[in-house]
């Protein structure tokens, strides 16, 4: 009898521990930041976008990863007709909060303002699937799922030890759980990697050009309009190795773009 009671115990314990740590997830914020936020929003609603921008930028120092802040910044830059910065902040907002449809709509509008935009090619289906899979759950969701699977594995081991012959097919269950655990760990890693560095950059300078070699004298292959989203593959000196939306690869001066 007491064995059953004991089995529930570790789960309860885990839940308790998780609850404890959940509080830690929301770090405190200062009253000052709240004031800045309210002021900036007020300026924005009075169409004083310059002033709003100053306050939003002040907040950005404290909270560089706040999706809403980037969203509002994107709107402000959109109103000020800074196409590049507007796209950059919308992309950042989406980077931190990929499910926000409002941000997607506004990003679409901001991109419509790009002068002579490059044509976008849609990637092959499995690349699209992979991207969607990565966006499906946040790295935190994957991390907690991995932990859960780990607990399931331990529970399976425990039952196997205690119930012995009564727990039939315990080996199958255990190996299935371990496979899920490995996959989930990998997904955690990939999503974490993506969250850490989106691998994208936005062109902020209308004079940016795509050059063949990472040199100032490199042969110009393409003009890149302001606001274009680039995929970054590497860096060499002051040049980034990038891929344009139209699929061309080349180098671009890193001071003309901003990483998302």
């Amino acid at each position: 009898m007491w064995v059953n009671i004991r089995l529930k115990h570790p789960i309860r314990l885990a839940v308790l521990i998780l609850l404890c740590f959940a509080g830690y997830d929301n770090p405190g914020w200062s009253q000052q930041d709240t004031d800045l936020w309210n002021k900036a929003n007020a300026f924005y609603s009075h169409k004083q976008y310059d002033s709003a921008l100053v306050y939003y930028n002040a907040l950005l120092r404290d909270a560089p990863g706040n999706a809403f802040l980037h969203y509002n910044l994107g709107n402000t830059h959109y109103r000020l007709n800074n196409v590049g910065l507007s796209v950059l902040h919308y992309e950042k907002s989406l980077h931190f909060d990929p499910d926000n449809q409002q941000v997607r709509d506004n990003l679409k509008l901001a991109k419509a303002r790009i002068q002579n935009p490059l044509p976008e090619i849609t990637p092959i289906f499995f690349v699209r699937w992979w991207d969607n899979l990565l966006l499906l759950f946040s790295p935190n969701a994957w991390a907690w799922f991995t932990l859960l699977v780990f607990i399931v594995i331990l529970a399976t081991i425990y039952y196997r030890v205690t119930l012995k012959d009564k727990f039939t097919n315990s080996g199958r269950w255990l190996s299935a759980a371990i496979i899920v655990f490995i996959l989930s760990s990998l997904m955690t890693w990939f999503t974490f990697d993506l969250a850490d560095d989106s691998g994208k950059a936005v062109v902020l300078d209308p004079s940016a050009t795509l050059v063949e070699t990472p040199q100032l004298s490199g042969k110009v292959m393409n003009n890149i309009p302001e606001g274009t989203l680039l995929e970054v593959y590497g860096q060499q000196g002051s040049f980034l190795n990038v891929k344009l939306p139209n699929g061309r690869m080349g180098w671009v001066q890193s001071n003309l773009v901003a990483k998302v």
Partner: protein, 661 residues
């Protein structure tokens, strides 16, 4: 109009030449060999190298009437050939004639006396037919579709020149005396000028004014327009002017002028303030008359002496005018137009600059269409006024219809005198969402100059039904761009950034904790198991001893004759022994499961049977004590014997099992 009149033209030519050793040439030329009854003929007599020529006798122009002339012109040229200087001077006289009847006519030679000799000119034969040949030729030369203004202007000038020649010729006989003075060179600017006429000089912004550039002349001339007015600040719409040009007669200050319309435009001021109609400029040659009578223009001309003596030139009817070509530059006076701004009071919101009187109409080419289709909405403004200056109407289209900027077509249909026509806004409709839509009534506000007020007219609303097309799906519909960005997030500040669990140590500590908990649990479980096993083993070991104790107690009870207690003791000894040995709690034991359990442990059937019988006997004896002392002694021995035997059997089995394990 001039062409309809019959004009003939005759040139008399007189010349006197004093250059020695020059051949005298006296010739007659006509401008055409064949002419219509309504045409004019110009005959020119030229006398070269004949100084001192006198007594010019014009032939009798039978079949013609003289309508103009003689006009005299002098020319001379000097050429040096092989070191010899040659001077050629010539005098020509021309007459303008009108035929009286049809037929073939020979104009007889004219005569002139040179140094006492009479010289005759050649004869000229012309044919006169019905109608007007000149008109036809003129028409052939005029390309009505040629819209190059300067080419047209050149031709126009040629025509003007000819007409003026003719016109002058016709007028000459009647007006020669009275007008001769006024037509001299010094009065040239009174006799030819360009005048601009406007019907209003104080219009509203956008109100039509009509400007006419007119050439007034009393002189024959050949003038080319060199600069058309640029009309800055106006939207101008040119009126068609007759081609070939027609002269009208206009009397200014009691003098009759021929008036040619150079340019007539409807002008719509585009801004308020003072605007200037800049000058139209023309350059050319004007033929001014010089009267010979009474004062000889050739007084100091050594070749002109014959005019003095010539009775022909002394006759009043044939006053000896000669003409002189004078270069002129004509320019109209700029005219200032004060444009009044439109009143801002009561200006409707839908006003986009229309001034005049208009009507509006809106229509679509289909009222039912699918999302794959496109339709066209046509908004037509028709009427008179500044059509071209009307801005796009402000229409609140339903955004689902996908209507963007219109295509604008201006059509001018009438200019009599107000510019009338239509302005058509063509909107392409590309619906994205099915449903019933209404294009609202489209208002047009315009300023009516006559009533001095703004008026608003509206088209009828148009209903459109959109059905889903083949390619329609909700995803496509949702992909369309919203009109404006969504507003900012105005919720409360939620602090810093999202933190990633993986990047915190506590996340990894959780794995350690969970693993530790599991290890602990397994260890505890193991210990419990080991303990349970140990107690069973102990009981098994002690079972024999306990049984023996109970049996010895039973032996005492047998001697004491306590039968009931005796059987109880025996029963307990056997049950407790079985319980311990089989590891089954006492409460769960029964005869049946004991037998089953014993047979599982490979205890022989006979012994199981003996256990059953002794247990049964004890139970029976407990309730009905029967049998004597001997019977009880036997039961005791039997119990001792069966426990010993079971002990042997179970022990060996245990050892055997342990060996196998």
């Amino acid at each position: 109009m001039i062409w309809k009149g019959l004009v003939g033209s005759v040139v008399l030519l007189l010349l006197h030449i004093c250059t020695i050793a020059q051949e005298i040439v006296f010739s007659a030329q006509v401008n055409t060999q064949k002419l219509g009854l309504k045409d004019q003929l110009q005959v020119t007599y030229t006398l070269s190298n004949a100084p001192g020529a006198t007594n010019f006798q014009a032939p009798s122009f039978s079949g013609f009437s003289i309508v103009g002339g003689p006009y005299q012109s002098n020319s001379s040229s000097i050429s040096i050939i092989n070191g010899q200087t040659r001077q050629v001077s010539s005098v020509s006289l021309s007459y303008v004639l009108e035929p009286i009847k049809t037929g073939s006519f020979t104009i007889p030679p004219a005569r002139v006396e040179v140094n006492g000799k009479t010289v005759s000119s050649n004869t000229v034969t012309v044919q006169v037919v019905n109608g007007s040949l000149m008109q036809e030729r003129m028409n052939q030369r005029t390309d009505p579709f040629d819209d190059d203004p300067f080419t047209a202007m050149r031709r126009y000038q040629q025509q003007l020149r000819q007409q003026m020649m003719q016109q002058r010729g016709r007028q000459q006989p009647q007006q020669a005396n009275s007008e001769a003075d006024g037509l001299s060179e010094k009065n040239i600017d009174k006799n030819i000028f360009i005048k601009v006429e406007v019907d209003k000089t104080n219009p509203y912004q956008g109100e039509q004014i009509t400007a006419s550039y007119k050439l007034y002349t009393r002189l024959p001339m050949s003038v080319n327009l060199t600069q058309l007015p640029s009309l800055n600040g106006f939207w101008s719409q040119d009126f068609q002017i007759p081609n070939p040009p027609k002269a009208r007669e206009e009397i200014v200050n009691g003098k009759k002028y021929q008036v040619f319309l150079l340019k007539k435009s409807a002008l719509f001021p585009q801004q308020s303030g003072t605007l200037e109609l800049d000058a139209a400029k023309a350059e050319g040659i004007v033929r001014v008359l010089q009267q010979v009578k009474g004062h000889n223009p050739f007084a100091d001309d050594p070749f002109s002496s014959f005019f003095m003596d010539d009775p022909f030139f002394n006759e009043d009817a044939f006053i000896g005018y000669n003409y002189k070509d004078v270069k002129v530059k004509l320019s109209s006076m700029p005219i200032k137009i004060n444009v009044k701004p439109l009143p801002t009071l009561n200006q409707p919101g839908s006003f986009t600059g229309a001034v005049g009187t208009f009507d509006v109409k809106a229509s679509v080419d289909k009222t039912i269409l699918s999302t794959d289709d496109a339709a066209t909405l046509t908004f037509t403004i028709s009427g008179s006024g500044n059509l071209k200056l009307i801005g796009n109407p402000k229409i609140n289209f339903p955004s689902e219809l996908g209507i963007y900027d219109p295509l604008i077509t201006d059509t001018i249909t009438g200019r009599n005198p107000a510019i009338t026509g239509s302005k058509i806004f063509t909107y392409s409709i590309n619906p994205q969402t099915p449903g019933d839509f209404t294009i609202p009534a489209i208002p047009l506000a315009y300023y009516d100059v006559h009533s001095g007020s703004y008026k608003v007219i509206k088209s009828d609303p148009v209903k459109i039904k959109v059905v889903a097309g083949k390619n329609y799906s909700n995803t496509i519909a949702s992909q369309k761009l919203p009109g404006d960005i969504h507003n900012i997030y105005t919720g409360s500040w939620n602090g810093g950034s999202r933190s990633l669990a993986v990047s915190h140590i506590w996340y990894w500590l959780l794995y350690a904790i969970v693993s530790a908990v599991l290890t602990g649990l397994i260890l505890i479980h193991r210990r419990q198991e080991a303990y349970a096993e140990n107690t069973a083993l102990l009981k098994n070991k002690k079972a024999n001893k306990v049984a023996w104790k109970r049996l010895s107690a039973a032996r005492k009870l047998l001697t004491q004759q306590k039968h009931k207690e005796f059987y109880e003791e025996i029963s307990k000894a056997i049950w407790l022994y079985l319980s311990d040995k089989l590891g089954i709690p006492l409460a769960h034991l029964s005869k049946e499961n004991v037998a089953l359990e014993l047979s599982n442990k490979n205890v022989p059937i006979t012994q199981i049977e003996r256990v059953r019988s002794i247990v049964l006997e004890c139970e029976m004896a407990l309730y009905s004590p029967i049998g004597g002392q001997q019977q009880r002694q036997h039961t005791l021995d039997e119990a001792v014997a069966i426990i010993s035997e079971l002990e042997n059997v179970l022990k060996t089995k245990n050892i055997a099992l342990q060996h196998v394990g």
